[in-house]
């Protein structure tokens, strides 16, 4: 009272100290009440500190009063109200006379999402008191999945732990649960659990790919995933050095592909097996060093070695498209500069890749003389290109003029040196007449 009176005479005095002291005195009055019975002087209170006072109230379970004090003295939530609520909730879950449902609801309503109150801590308390169901209910309110998982595992609720971990998006957490499950469950159950959690499954698969190839196989087997199983065998076959084991792995792959109704892959794998056998035979007979090459590379190698008969055999056996074979043979002959053979080959039947290819391949080997032989055989559409390829401007001009095509005339013109007046004029005239039409 005296302070209040005296204050009126001071103008430049900060009222803060006055206000806070008044508030504290009111709190002291409140705890002096009969129901509480904590008579404290202000000095004692200061010595004791507010934290301790609140703790005492909490221990004596005067939760509402403690909360009111916190609010009244404006203590930050995580030091004040939240702490009290945490204690209250921990106490609440021990009340044996209430149903799980009722307690969970009461806790959620009171605690809401006050900062600093961890539902998982409360749930842990509930679990300690043997109330697993309540703990699970409480965990549902925990916002951070990372906090839910360890407790769930402790409570042996592994399935739930796994789905919570997946929800969290934290793969390390998922992985922790997966490892735990792997040790706890028998293999079949473990795989079944994973099957229902695609995220966990792909994570585990990734790990197996690097660490436990065999497990991977079991996983696919369990799922009847024949496609993946076949792919697994194919991969395994490439790690195998010995041809026989390789072939037997590929055979397993074929079987699985068939089960997966993937005829295409089954056939392709069968052909690969056939090719491997042929390669082995040729390697043994001719020392050709073919094993493991692709079909194309095999034919190429055979042609390079001059084993034309064997190459053609492969071409027929594996139904290699004509075009591909012609390209291969053409390139190979030109590279070895067997021009006579090449000419014979060009006449063996009508070329499925046209004759411009012959011209270009010869030019690539810088043999203009040979290239020219094929220019006349080129189809009219490509003749200008062929003439240009061998550097025959006159011929190109003639062909272009004959075909009366704008774009081809322009193409020839672009190559013409300006010095060749006569030719340029001729082309320009032709272009003009072509344009008129």
């Amino acid at each position: 009272m005296a302070a209040s009176f005296g204050k009126c005479f001071l103008t430049d005095f900060s009222p803060d100290a006055f206000v806070s002291t008044c508030r504290e005195l009111r709190v002291l009055n409140a705890v002096r009440e009969r129901g509480v019975g904590l008579p404290l002087t202000h000095t004692q209170f200061k010595q004791l500190t507010l934290q301790v006072l609140i703790d005492r109230l909490v221990y004596r379970q005067f939760y509402p009063l403690a909360i009111e004090v916190c609010r009244y003295l404006k203590i930050p939530d995580y030091q004040g109200v939240s702490r009290v609520l945490k204690h209250w909730a921990s106490c609440k879950v021990q009340q044996k006379d209430l149903s799980d449902e009722a307690i969970a609801r009461a806790v959620c309503v009171k605690v809401g999402d006050s900062p600093g109150v961890s539902y998982s801590d409360i749930a842990a308390k509930a679990y300690e008191c043997g109330r697993t169901e309540l703990a699970i209910k409480l965990l549902d309110s925990e916002a951070r999945s990372g906090e839910q998982v360890p407790l769930l595992l402790k409570m042996k609720k592994s399935q739930l732990a796994l789905s919570k971990a997946v929800e969290s998006g934290d793969t390390d957490l998922v992985y922790t649960v997966v490892t735990y499950l792997k040790n706890e469950m028998n293999r079949g159950d473990f795989f079944m659990t994973l099957r229902n959690q695609p995220v966990a499954l792909s994570l585990y698969r990734q790990f197996c790919k690097l660490q436990e190839q065999e497990t991977l196989k079991d996983l696919y087997n369990q799922d009847d995933d024949h496609q993946e199983l076949a792919n697994y065998y194919v991969t395994a076959s490439y790690r195998e050095k010995r041809l026989d084991s390789r072939l037997s792995l590929l055979q397993s792959a074929v079987d699985e592909y068939n089960k997966a109704k993937n005829e295409f892959s089954a056939k392709a794998t069968e052909e690969e097996m056939r090719l491997l056998r042929i390669q082995r035979k040729l390697d043994e007979e001719k020392g050709a060093g073919l094993l493991g090459l692709s079909l194309q590379a095999t034919i190429e190698a055979l042609l390079a070695l001059g084993l034309h008969k064997q190459a053609e055999q492969l071409y027929r056996d594996f139904r290699v498209p004509d075009k591909r074979f012609w390209w291969l043979k053409l390139k190979s002959l030109a590279e070895k500069e067997e021009w006579e053979e090449l000419e014979k080959f060009s006449k063996s039947k009508k070329s499925p890749i046209g004759y411009l290819a012959f011209v270009e391949v010869c030019m690539k080997s810088n043999n203009k003389h040979e290239a020219k032989k094929y220019v006349s055989k080129v189809t009219p559409e490509q003749r200008v290109k062929a003439h240009l390829a061998v550097g025959d401007l006159e011929g190109a001009a003639d062909a272009a003029i004959e075909r009366k095509s704008d774009s081809e005339l322009a193409a020839v013109l672009a190559k013409c040196p300006a010095s060749d007046r006569q030719l340029v004029d001729r082309l320009n005239r032709a272009a003009a007449t072509a344009a008129k039409k």
Partner: protein, 629 residues
């Protein structure tokens, strides 16, 4: 000759008609300094001399953060590259700086166990970057050396490659996340975003599309809630997150903008390129940093290649004039010229001759007939014309074994743009490919199919058929099969419909002047506006996804737009609102960056590109190969 002169006179101002009010970019040097300081701190945790083993693909990023002398200052004795072989170090302390990969951890276990067997005692420390995974600990434990090593994390999430490019340098993000369904990097992306947010935020608006984007966003939000928030002036206003699988078409196209072309041909690594003897016209290779510090490069990086050579020759002329100035100078003028200008001119001269060399080398490779035909095929695929011709072009490509990667790229482009191949074509092209490159590619094809990059058309399978199928499966209750059905529903590319909706392919009958680009299509010679960038443009324009419902349906959804808590003061600082961070999850190409730079100039804003790695068509395809080589 006259033609050339005319070209030169027509030389446009390369800066385009840029808006002059573009805001300044924030300074990302801070990111480097933070990373360096933390690394030094970690090295000092192992006092005394030590040998440092560095994961091969961390060498270049590390070099941008701390050079050898910095490392030596902190008692690193010798530096080795991790090569998965027994080691020869004589040091008593070994430090390993690695990515959290099981394979590398296993190798370290081998090293430690070999020492044990030899009765040798050493101290081992593993520094994982950007973070450690539980699986790494599991391996250490399994191999029985978890007690012998100490582990740490170097949270080096972001490497600024240039003023406006930041990379996570995690190329494996793409395969792990999109192909294997392994989401472990999502949290990493969230943490990277969190770091940017705490240094340059708070962001006022976040948009995104894609499953992974959404998860990364959520992971970031979680981290924001856990930490405390300091109020500060935002330097970056908006954020756009996009998954790579939203748009596969763009990275599969041949790049024709200078920087992209250089990447396609010479392979840019960590903003650095090695030009071989054919470029430098000497017998040596030269490593060149390619960023905005290089004045010549900075002016041509975003240009369509057809403009670059003209620009460079003009530049060469100007340089000559500057040199010529010195004629008729008196001694005093000469002195100032030498001290002030000559060094700059010399440097410019050096850069200019390098880029001219690079250009010539590119021209040799890329102006040939085959490249023109290749581009023509790509353009017809994008437009959806002359598909038969394109298919036979691809067939010949495969038959002649032009390139293993290129053939696959074309096949994928064909499949995506056509919503899958006809069963007949699918089989025959695949069979021919296997004949060319070996049966092991069966696995590659399985991967491409899983990702929806190369698939068979389901005859008459409309969306409703799919939906009824899904409905049946729901009754089946087999989660695995259900997710399969969903994913195959999701994997429909719908490119043609999207292209119509968003007007991605401009009408081809109009002449497109590449010197004066009128839209982002210029990065593909005017033939195609990149889908990814078009989405960004549209969403920014509409401030959300309203009006794009049909588009998001075709893209299979997962879009979001969230307004940040600090909506009030966002109006106050307007500049930050025009700084937009675009995060590509799964990589982005230089062409996309060029397109965004163009968009920024048009709209008076600036884009910062954050990507898990810089990618291009060959890196994308190579990540999906499964042949054993």
């Amino acid at each position: 000759m006259t033609e050339k002169l005319r070209q030169l006179r027509k030389q446009p101002n390369m800066a385009h008609s840029a808006r002059t009010d573009c805001p300044e970019l924030p300074d990302f040097f801070l990111l480097k300094r933070l990373a360096r300081d933390q690394l030094i701190y970690l090295l000092e945790q192992l006092p005394g001399k030590k040998d440092l083993f560095i994961e091969a693909d961390l060498m270049s990023p590390l070099d941008r953060i701390a050079n050898v002398s910095t490392l030596k200052q902190h008692e690193v004795d010798k530096l080795y590259k991790v090569e998965y072989k027994p080691i020869v170090s004589t040091s008593d302390q070994l430090c390993f700086l690695i990515r959290p990969r099981i394979q590398t951890v296993k190798w370290i276990c081998d090293v430690a166990n070999a020492d044990k067997a030899a009765g040798r005692f050493r101290r081992y420390k593993i520094i994982f970057t950007p973070q450690k995974f539980y699986a790494c600990d599991a391996v250490l434990e399994e191999q029985g050396i978890i007690g012998d090593v100490t582990t740490d994390e170097w949270s080096f999430y972001l490497l600024p490659l240039d003023d406006d490019i930041i990379s996570l340098e995690l190329p494996e993000f793409f395969r792990d996340n999109f192909l294997a369904g392994d989401q472990r990097w999502v949290r990493t992306a969230g943490s990277a975003l969190h770091l940017l947010h705490s240094l340059y935020g708070p962001f006022s608006k976040v948009y995104g599309i894609g499953r992974c984007s959404k998860m990364a966003y959520e992971s970031w939000r979680e981290q924001v809630e856990e930490g405390e928030q300091k109020a500060r002036q935002a330097e970056i206003g908006k954020v756009f997150l996009i998954d790579r699988d939203v748009d596969f078409v763009t990275p599969l196209c041949s790049q024709v903008v200078y920087e992209g072309l250089v990447d396609d041909i010479f392979k840019i690594k960590c903003a650095c390129v090695e030009f071989g003897p054919d470029v430098t016209s000497s017998d040596k290779s030269i490593k060149v940093m390619l960023n905005s510090q290089d004045r010549v490069f900075n002016e041509i990086r975003n240009e369509h290649f057809s403009n670059v050579f003209g620009f460079l020759s003009q530049k060469a002329r100007n340089l000559q004039t500057s040199y010529d100035k010195r004629r008729g100078m008196d001694i005093k003028q000469m002195k100032t010229f030498v001290s002030e200008e000559l060094k700059g001119l010399k440097q410019e001269h050096r850069l200019l001759s390098l880029h001219i060399g690079a250009c010539e080398s590119i021209m040799k490779k890329k102006t040939k007939q085959d490249f023109q035909e290749l581009l023509k095929t790509e353009h017809s695929l994008l437009e959806g014309f002359e598909i038969r011709e394109s298919i036979s072009y691809i067939e010949e490509h495969i038959n002649r074994q032009v390139s293993m990667i290129e053939s696959l790229r074309l096949l994928c482009l064909l499949s995506i743009t056509e919503n899958g191949l006809l069963p007949k074509d699918y089989r025959s092209l695949k069979a021919q490919y296997l004949q060319s490159y070996g049966v092991d590619h069966l696995l590659t094809f399985a991967n491409l199919r899983q990702l929806g990059l190369l698939v068979e058309q389901q005859p008459g399978e409309t969306l409703t058929v799919m939906e009824s199928k899904v409905g049946k499966l729901v009754n089946d209750r087999t989660a695995g099969k259900l997710s399969d059905a969903f994913s195959s529903l999701a994997k429909k590319s719908n490119f043609r419909a999207l292209s119509r909706k968003l007007n991605l392919v401009p009408k081809s009958d109009e002449e497109y002047d590449l010197r004066v680009p009128r839209d982002m299509a210029y990065i593909f010679s005017g033939a195609y506006v990149p889908l990814s960038c078009k989405l960004i443009e549209q969403v920014l324009e509409r401030d959300g996804w309203t009006g794009l419902e049909e588009v998001t349906r075709l893209l299979n959804g997962h879009e979001f737009a969230v307004t940040g808590s600090t909506g009030a003061d966002s109006k106050a600082k307007n500049d930050a609102q025009r700084i937009i961070l675009v995060m590509f999850l799964g990589g982005c190409t230089f062409s996309e960056i060029s397109a965004l730079r163009f968009l920024g100039r048009e709209r008076g804003c600036k884009f910062i590109v954050v990507t898990t790695a810089i990618t291009n068509s060959s890196r994308l395809i190579e990540a999906l190969l499964d042949n054993i080589v």
